[in-house]
């Protein structure tokens, strides 16, 4: 058990180190996220819709698409020189490979979210200071759910042509429950509603995470075992 966790962290650490060394993916994902925010700011009638009304959905659609860019390349780096074979050959459980890739993807997406959030506050004139804790919790809960499923799917779609198209087609339905929950919570946080009003949604997000991380751990070996 301990070895399995150590191996998972080694894989996540390897991904982060590679990310920091090249930086291209991280920087382009950030620019991409910023551009979505800008597009959102202009895709409204300024006379009738205040930026604040659009803010929660803009935030979450930006996060969702930024996550998609991270997931799209998660397993393409493992495929490049058949590095995935080396992971399968190593004396580590298949579950460690999944967990490692999940942790690496989450770190990548959280980093993008952390940088995008202040930018969002500026563009949408949102007061995030008071609700920062709640926003962080919501981001962690919602992101974990769809990145968990996305990590499994990205291991599959990398084997197809048009992987960049196949992944969103498969993953978007799985993003619906986390996104609905996250937007509902964010709306209430921005309206300074008490936390008790969103506990139900947060619980739903947490259950989603537990269910899909567990299920992904169970099915992942079937994806990589030929």
């Amino acid at each position: 058990m301990r070895d399995a966790i150590v191996a998972a962290f080694a894989i996540a650490g390897k991904d982060l180190r590679a990310e920091l060394r090249s930086r291209t993916a991280l920087v382009s994902a950030l620019v991409f996220a910023a551009l979505i925010l800008v597009v959102f700011s202009f895709s409204r009638d300024p006379a009738r819709l205040a930026p604040a009304d659009l803010a929660p959905s803009a935030l979450w659609i930006t996060f969702a698409f930024a996550a998609m860019t991270a997931l799209n390349r998660a397993f393409s780096v493992e495929r490049e020189h058949a590095a995935l074979d080396a992971l399968l050959l190593a004396p580590i459980p298949r579950e460690s490979i999944y967990l490692g890739k999940l942790l690496g993807n989450l770190a990548f997406v959280f980093a993008i979210e952390a940088v995008t959030l202040p930018l969002f506050a500026v563009f949408f004139n949102a007061r995030i200071g008071a609700s920062l804790g709640g926003l962080a919790l919501t981001s962690v809960l919602a992101t974990t759910g769809f990145v968990a499923v996305g990590t499994v799917f990205s291991a599959m779609t990398v084997r197809t042509r048009f992987a960049e198209l196949m992944l969103p087609v498969l993953l978007l339905p799985f993003m619906i429950p986390p996104l609905i929950g996250a937007v509902q919570v964010t709306v209430r946080l921005f309206a300074d509603r008490p936390l008790s009003e969103v506990v139900g949604w947060l619980r739903l997000l947490a259950v989603y995470d537990v269910v899909f991380v567990t299920l992904s751990l169970v099915v992942f070996p079937s994806v990589v075992d030929e």
């Binding site: 619906i176 099915v219 079937s222 994806v223």
Partner: protein, 235 residues
């Protein structure tokens, strides 16, 4: 025609059986249309549009049933690794997509006169919409993979995750908003539907389920034949 004992025989026999079942169901379906249009009372508030519900409800029911079967059969596939289970799942998924498409087109036809809008983000309509998208994705993933074993494993994983997704989508959309007529059919005390309406609806449910079964068996037979043919070609 193939001779008995030939490797292509089981598949083509299943296809014939499936086609026959579907044919019987189609004849019965014509009877349902007759009863629905001329032999049931016209509902007071919804008017003639209500008649579509003899088609809409069974299609919705079958889509959900068939997709659940795909999920369960897929889980069995990952356990037993029997290619027949994969073929069955694929056949059922195609039929489920067709039934959910029927549900999604009849819903707005009813919604326009009754709700006053083609589309409402009602919980059950939305759930079916996502299932439709999910299984269109499932089928496109299948068509994008060429190794049969890999295709079977990957699509089984999607179907299993999809099965578990259903309650989450349903719950979150429900909490988001719902305006669908609440279940009024099978309240144990007193059904609030007039007798003839209920009878036709239940008959229609049975006939649609038979139709789905016929289609699945026929499609499964074709997939088996196809696999046997490829096997024969490769010796």
């Amino acid at each position: 025609m193939t001779s008995p004992g030939h490797p292509l025989e089981p598949g083509s026999r299943l296809t014939r059986v499936g086609m026959r079942i579907a044919l019987v169901a189609l004849v019965a379906l014509a009877a349902i249309y007759y009863f629905a249009i001329w032999r049931t009372p016209t509902e007071a508030s919804q008017g003639f549009a209500q008649k579509i519900f003899y088609l809409h409800v069974p299609a919705a029911w079958n889509a959900l049933l068939v997709f659940s079967v795909v999920g369960i059969v897929s889980a069995l596939y990952l356990w037993l690794k029997d290619a027949r289970l994969d073929h069955f799942a694929a056949a059922a998924a195609e039929v489920g997509v067709v039934f959910s498409a029927v549900m999604l087109t009849t819903g707005p036809l009813w919604g326009k006169p009754v709700w006053g809008a083609w589309w409402q983000w009602d919980a059950r309509l939305t759930l079916t919409l996502f299932l439709f998208f999910l299984y269109v994705g499932y089928l496109s993933l299948r068509s994008a993979l060429h190794d049969p074993a890999e295709r079977a494993r990957f699509s089984a994983v999607v179907a299993i995750l999809g099965l578990v997704l259903v309650p989450f989508v349903h719950l979150s959309v429900y909490l988001f908003r719902t305006i669908h007529p609440l279940p009024v059919v099978l309240k144990p005390s007193a059904p609030s539907l007039p007798g003839s309406m209920l009878e036709v609806l239940l008959f229609s449910l049975a006939v649609h389920t038979l139709l789905a079964l016929g289609f699945i068996i026929a499609r499964y037979g074709l997939l088996r034949t196809e696999a046997a043919r490829i096997g024969e070609r490769n010796g």
